[in-house]
């Protein structure tokens, strides 16, 4: 794919991924078929900052996990008062990385 397009994608979406994944994504996109570009461009990623805000406000109800698409863990969190309050606090620190991980999974479904 055209390097300019790939750089544009990285510039606008780089914050949604782990920093160590960005180089790998760029490399992979450069070798991707041009026909897949509209598909890649139309992907919607979850913002890690938004998920952190949701985690701070509604972490005890598991809303942060539902937001990033982890329905199973969300239900677990909801049914146990946010894992007795401990899991809710632990998630304040983990949710941003979990969001980036989920974004990567979403992109990988198209890349591979």
């Amino acid at each position: 794919m055209d390097a300019q397009k790939v750089d544009m994608f990285i510039m606008s979406n780089g914050k949604f991924f782990e920093s160590h994944q960005v180089a790998q994504i760029r490399d992979r996109l450069l070798h991707l078929d041009e026909a897949k570009w509209p598909l890649v461009q139309s992907l919607q990623f979850k913002d890690p900052t938004i998920s952190l805000i949701i985690s701070l406000l509604g972490g005890s109800l598991g809303i942060d996990r539902f937001f990033i698409g982890d329905t199973g863990l969300g239900v677990g969190k909801l049914l146990t008062c946010g894992g007795l309050g401990i899991w809710a606090i632990v998630d304040w620190f983990l949710i941003m990385d979990a969001t980036r991980e989920k974004n990567m999974e979403k992109l990988q479904r198209i890349l591979y």
Binding site: L61, G72, L79, G85
Partner: protein, 139 residues
């Protein structure tokens, strides 16, 4: 898939273990101190309003003592948690012994099932009704 499965099983077992310890300590202190005095629910301790699953410990303890009606009164979620606490370790050991992924596959299917609007909306409604009931009971 292998690492995802192992991660999930490890997490579920850890969660069950934490649950057992929690229920055991709650069982010993119930009903003199109850679980009101313990730190367990961020919502309850910050706003003084019970959360949707407040009362689950008392419900599970009532169930273990054989008082089904009492457990239903405290919080029906407690019954669900007790069932999960019993079934999950057995299911994981079955998978480990027979080298299968049945629980992991079930978990993935359940996630997709729960995301369907026709299932998610009634479930949310049920949780909210239960929550209102909790506030009404003043847990």
């Amino acid at each position: 898939m292998q690492s995802g499965r192992n991660k999930l099983y490890f997490f579920l077992l850890l969660f069950c273990l934490a649950g057992y310890i929690w229920f055991y300590t709650g069982y010993r202190s119930f009903p003199e101190s109850g679980d009101r005095a313990r730190i367990g629910c961020l919502i309850k301790h910050t706003t003084n309003v019970p959360c949707p699953s407040c009362g689950a410990t008392r419900s599970a303890i009532s169930l273990i003592k054989g008082d089904f009606a009492g457990s239903l009164y405290w919080n029906p979620i407690g019954i669900l948690l007790v069932c999960m606490g019993v079934i999950i370790p057995i299911w994981i050991s079955y998978d480990k012994i027979f080298r299968k992924d049945s629980l992991y596959l079930f978990y993935r299917k359940a996630e997709v099932f729960l995301r369907r609007k026709a299932v998610a909306l009634p479930a949310i409604l049920l949780i909210i009704i239960n929550w209102i009931w909790n506030i009404y009971k003043g847990l």
